[in-house]
Amino acid sequence: MLYNLWLGLNIVFVMLLPVLWLIGLVALAWCATLVLALLRAPKAQWRKALPTSGLIGLAGMVLTFVLLPTLVGSSFADLNQFADWLFAIGVAVGVGVAFLVATWPSLSYLKKAA
C-alpha cells in the first residue's frame, strides 16, 4: 500500500512537471492571499467566507464529476465497478477541496474589505 502511495505521488509529480512553473506561480499567488489574510487583515472573516468557498468547492466537485469521463476519453456507461465510481468521486472531491482551499483566503480578506 505504501509503495502504491509512493507510485501515485510520483505519477502526479511527473504529470505536473511540464506545468510546474504555472503551479509555482499559482501557489505563490495563493500564499500571498494567505499571508495577506493572516497577517495584514486581522479582521478577515474566515467563518463568513467558508460557505461561499464551500459553494465554489461544491461547484468544482460537481463539474469535475460530470466532465471527468469525457475528459479521459470514456463515458458514464463505462463506470462498471465500485472502484470506478470511487475513483471518479475521489477525483471530484479532491478538485472540490482544492477549489475551496484556493478561494478561502481571498474571500476571507474580501469579506473583511466588504
Binding site: L7, N10, V72, S74, D78, L79, N80, Q81, A83
Partner: protein
C-alpha cells in the same frame, strides 16, 4: 477569535520548513545507502529496463563506472503504441525525449549495438568492433521482431494495401490507425494475427482486435465486416481465465477465432495470408489461405541474435528455442554467470514481457547486482509480476495482472480483474506514462 500574531508566524514558518526538512532527510538517507566500488558495469540496452537499472545503480553506488550500449537515440514509449493504433493517441505522444534525458549523470553511452556477448571473457563486442570489458553485465536488449519468418512479408510495405502491424514502430502504429479508419468506413475482411512465440505485451494483438471492432460499431459499419483472429498459440491468452474470457467476448462480438494457426506467408499485393495449422508445436500439413482487406501482422519474436548465439541463452528447456536469457526467474541473476543479470523482455522466464515487469524487476536486479558487488547472495524474490490493461473498447479496459505462474495478483483489491473498468482505462491512457517515467528515473 483571531489567531495571535505569534501563532500565525509559527504556522507560516512550519509551512516553509516542512519540505526543507523532508529534502534533507531524503538526501541524508540516500548518501548513507551508497556502496563504494570501482566496478565497471555494462548495461546492454537503453530501453525501459536498461535506463531504470542505470538510474538505480547510479543512486546506489559511489565510484562505479556505468556504460550503456544502445544505438537508438530516441526513447520510445511502446506501451502507447496500441493507443496510437486505435486512434486514441497521436503518434507524438508515444515518442519520448532523447535517451540522454533519462540517463543518470556521469554514465558513458556507447551509441552502438552489442553484436557479441562473451561472458567467459567478461566482454561484449559492438557492431563497430569495440571490445568492452565489464565486471558486471546487465542484459536489457529487449527482443527481436522476426518479420522475415513470414514468407513474403515486407516491413517497408506497412501502412499500404491493408497491411498493418502495431509492433514495428510508432509510425507503423500510426499507419495502423490510418488503415483501420479507412477500413471501418468501407468494411470487408479483417484478419488479426498473433504468433506462437512469446511476445512483448501479449495483450496487444487482442487489444487491436477489440479496438477495430469498437471503432466499426462507433460508425455503425460493424455488420459490413468479417473479423477473424488467428493465433499460432494454443490459447488466446497465456492465462487461462483470460483465454476463456476473451473467447466469450469474441463470440459475443462475432469475431471468429482460430488457435494454432501460424501466419507463415503473405502476398501483400494480392492481399492473401497463408496460415499453417500446428498441433502441440508440430505442423499438421494443413495450410489455409485467407483473402483480406485489412490484416494486422504480429511477427514471431525471439531474443536478439547476439544473445541467442551466445553462452548467455538457455541451452535446453522451453526458452531455448527463442534464445532467451538464462536467468533465475526469482533473482533475475544469470544461472551460470553470476556477474550477469537480465531485465525486461530478454529474460527467459514464464510470461513477463511488459513495462510493468520492468517496474517490478528493476529494484530486484539493481539490489542484487549491488549485493553481488559486495559478494553477497541475492535476498529478494521476484514473482514475475506482469500487467496489461487490456482495452476492450474505447473508454474501458480490463486490469490484467498476474505472476510467473499465471496466478492473478491484483494490486488494488477493489478492482475486479475480469470486469471492464473505467479506472483501468484512465490508468492506461493517462497515468501509466507518468508511472513509466518514474520507473525510468529509478524512483518507482
Amino acid at each position: 477569535m483571531q489567531p495571535s500574531p505569534l501563532g500565525r508566524r509559527r504556522l507560516l514558518a512550519g509551512f516553509a520548513a516542512t519540505p526543507l526538512a523532508a529534502a534533507l532527510a531524503g538526501a541524508s538517507a540516500s548518501a548513507q545507502a551508497r556502496v563504494r566500488t570501482q566496478a565497471h558495469i555494462v548495461i546492454a540496452g537503453s530501453g525501459a529496463g536498461g535506463i531504470a537499472i542505470a538510474n538505480r545503480l547510479a543512486r546506489g553506488l559511489e565510484g562505479a563506472r556505468i556504460t550503456i550500449i544502445d544505438g537508438r537515440e530516441q526513447h520510445l514509449y511502446q506501451p502507447g503504441w496500441t493507443l496510437v493504433a486505435g486512434g486514441i493517441w497521436p503518434m507524438e505522444r508515444a515518442v519520448m525525449q532523447h535517451n540522454s534525458r533519462y540517463h543518470p549523470r556521469g554514465i558513458e553511452w556507447v551509441k552502438d549495438y552489442v553484436a557479441e556477448f562473451d561472458p567467459t571473457a567478461n566482454t561484449v563486442v559492438t557492431r563497430g568492433g569495440q571490445r568492452i570489458r565489464y565486471d558486471f553485465l546487465v542484459v536489457a536488449t529487449g527482443l527481436q521482431l522476426n518479420y522475415k519468418a513470414i514468407a513474403g512479408m515486407d516491413e517497408a510495405a506497412l501502412g499500404q494495401n491493408g497491411l498493418t502491424s502495431v509492433y514495428a514502430s510508432p509510425q507503423a502504429a500510426a499507419s495502423t490507425w490510418k488503415l483501420m479508419d479507412a477500413f471501418r468506413r468501407t468494411g470487408g475482411r479483417a484478419v488479426m494475427t498473433a504468433p506462437h512465440t512469446p511476445m512483448k505485451c501479449a495483450g496487444a494483438p487482442v487489444k487491436v482486435t477489440f479496438l477495430l471492432d469498437d471503432r466499426m460499431r462507433e460508425v455503425g459499419t460493424r455488420e459490413r465486416a468479417e473479423i477473424s483472429y488467428h493465433t499460432g498459440g494454443a490459447a488466446l491468452f497465456g492465462v487461462d481465465v483470460y483465454h476463456q474470457d476473451i473467447g466469450r467476448r469474441f463470440e459475443r462480438l462475432g469475431i471468429a477465432h482460430h488457435l494454432q494457426q501460424r501466419l507463415t506467408g503473405i502476398d501483400i499485393g494480392a492481399r492473401r495470408a497463408t496460415f499453417s495449422t500446428f498441433n502441440a508445436g508440430q505442423p499438421t500439413g494443413e495450410v489455409n489461405t485467407v483473402d483480406y482487406d485489412f490484416i494486422h501482422v504480429v511477427p514471431p519474436m525471439s531474443a536478439p541474435d547476439a544473445v541467442r548465439n551466445s553462452d548467455l541463452s538457455w541451452k535446453e528447456g522451453p526458452f531455448a528455442g527463442g534464445g532467451w536469457l538464462e536467468v533465475n526467474r526469482e533473482t533475475l541473476q544469470h544461472r551460470r554467470f553470476p556477474n550477469v543479470f537480465g531485465i525486461g523482455d530478454i529474460n527467459g522466464t514464464p510470461r513477463g514481457k511488459t513495462a510493468a515487469t520492468v517496474k517490478g524487476g528493476a529494484p530486484i536486479v539493481a539490489g542484487h547486482l549491488i549485493r553481488a558487488i559486495q559478494n553477497q547472495a541475492p535476498d529478494q524474490k521476484f514473482n514475475g509480476y506482469t500487467s496489461c490493461p487490456l482495452i476492450t473498447r474505447v473508454g474501458s479496459a480490463l486490469l490484467v495482472e498476474f505472476d510467473h505462474d499465471g496466478n492473478l495478483v491484483p494490486t488494488l483489491p477493489l478492482i475486479d480483474p475480469l470486469q471492464d473498468s473505467f479506472f483501468a482505462w484512465t490508468m492506461k491512457v493517462h497515468l501509466l506514462k507518468p508511472a513509466y517515467v518514474a520507473v525510468l528515473r529509478g524512483r518507482a
